[in-house]
Amino acid sequence: MAQIFHPAANPFARFSIFGAVFLAIGALWLTGAITRSAWFTRSNVARDQPVPFTHELHSGKLGLDCRYCHTSVEESPFAGLPPTQTCMNCHTQIWADAPMLEPVRQSWQTGRPIAWTRVYDLADFCAFDHSIHLRKGIGCSTCHGSVDRMPLMWQTVSLFMEWCLDCHRQPERFIRPREAVFRMDDEPPLDQPRIGRELVERYHVRPSTDCTTCHR
């Protein structure tokens, strides 16, 4: 039987065998890169809101405490979104006629809440509790970033399980004194390794990495 392939085809065969290995690795890398990209996780992408509410002004320049609006953050799993009444505490007098705030006034008059766009949308099969994280010394900005520098809100982290586990495995890298959880700096101090270990000890922080801790 005559040869089907000419000897000159040998390099092609060798190349394609090696190439397949590289292709497989490349495909794996590409999948990883895509799932970690902002396009997929939607992190670092500012979300549009019905009213362009700015944390940069309210939290940053005015210095309002997180809890002025997110009142239930210390007592419940849900941080709480302020009712329109909280907006109107000030905006009956300040920027009272601004066209930008028309949806707020409308909500105030009709009693229908403003339909904000959720920025940190955790999957329904994950249980998360704000209050316990604050009590154990995890600050707002560890997960939410420096919101005092965000005109519109965006997600600063991937919200992947590996991201949760990063901290549950090594809480000493992120923990801070309870008095400082509402502070807005998101960079840990230089002596974090020492402080971290101390605080983990003092607050009895033993985060579980069991599946049922979050998936229940």
Partner: protein
């Protein structure tokens, strides 16, 4: 036969890839929108004329700051140092934006154009019964809105206690300070 088994398991694995359904389960999360109820909210208001268990508020003193219809002159519970600390923290969160940290009424929101509140250190407010402050926080007064939806009643009393402490602090004399603490106040170059 072998191939069809493979194919079937492959199909099942594809059907199993409905992560979206598990991400958005058919349940109402806090403050979620709802297409079911007329007002578009999943969170339901209380049925009219009902009181949730443990939420009956008949104690005039504790919940309205009144005794026999007049502003109460006393606290409804013993104020401890911890209560004062809590009051200070809550004051900084909810009151300082307008009243500022010493209570002079020059907070950031006032500097941005909100009608200024009176200073806590004027005679009228220094003489006012403690229930007055609780009442104003609860019901609002003049330009000030009610803070009942943001601050629970016990915390409102603690804030009132801290406002009293602020008033004392602005009219204190060196003789009011315990002798062992006086040294700390001395100016050190």
């Amino acid at each position: 036969m072998k191939y069809s088994k493979c194919l079937i398991s492959l199909l099942f694995s594809l059907v199993g890839c409905h992560q979206r359904d598990m991400e958005d389960q058919p349940r109402a999360d806090p403050l979620e929108a709802s297409a079911f109820f007329e007002d578009g909210q999943a969170a339901r208001p209380l049925v009219e004329g009902t009181v949730a268990r443990g939420h009956l508020r008949v104690d005039e003193h504790l919940f309205r700051g009144r005794v026999n219809g007049a502003p109460a002159g006393t606290f409804p519970f013993q104020i401890t140092r911890a209560d004062l600390e809590r009051g200070r923290e809550r004051y900084a969160v909810f009151c300082a934006p307008c009243h500022d940290l010493v209570g002079a009424g020059q907070g950031m929101v006032v500097r941005r154009g909100y009608q200024p509140p009176p200073s806590f250190h004027i005679d009228r407010l220094r003489q006012a019964p403690i229930g007055h402050f609780f009442q104003v926080m609860t019901e609002g007064l003049g330009a000030m809105p009610s803070y009942a939806h943001q601050v629970p009643p016990h915390d409102r009393w603690r804030i009132a206690a801290y406002v009293r402490a602020l008033q004392l602090s602005q009219h204190a004399l060196l003789d009011d300070v315990p002798p062992q603490e006086r040294e700390k106040l001395r100016w050190k170059p």
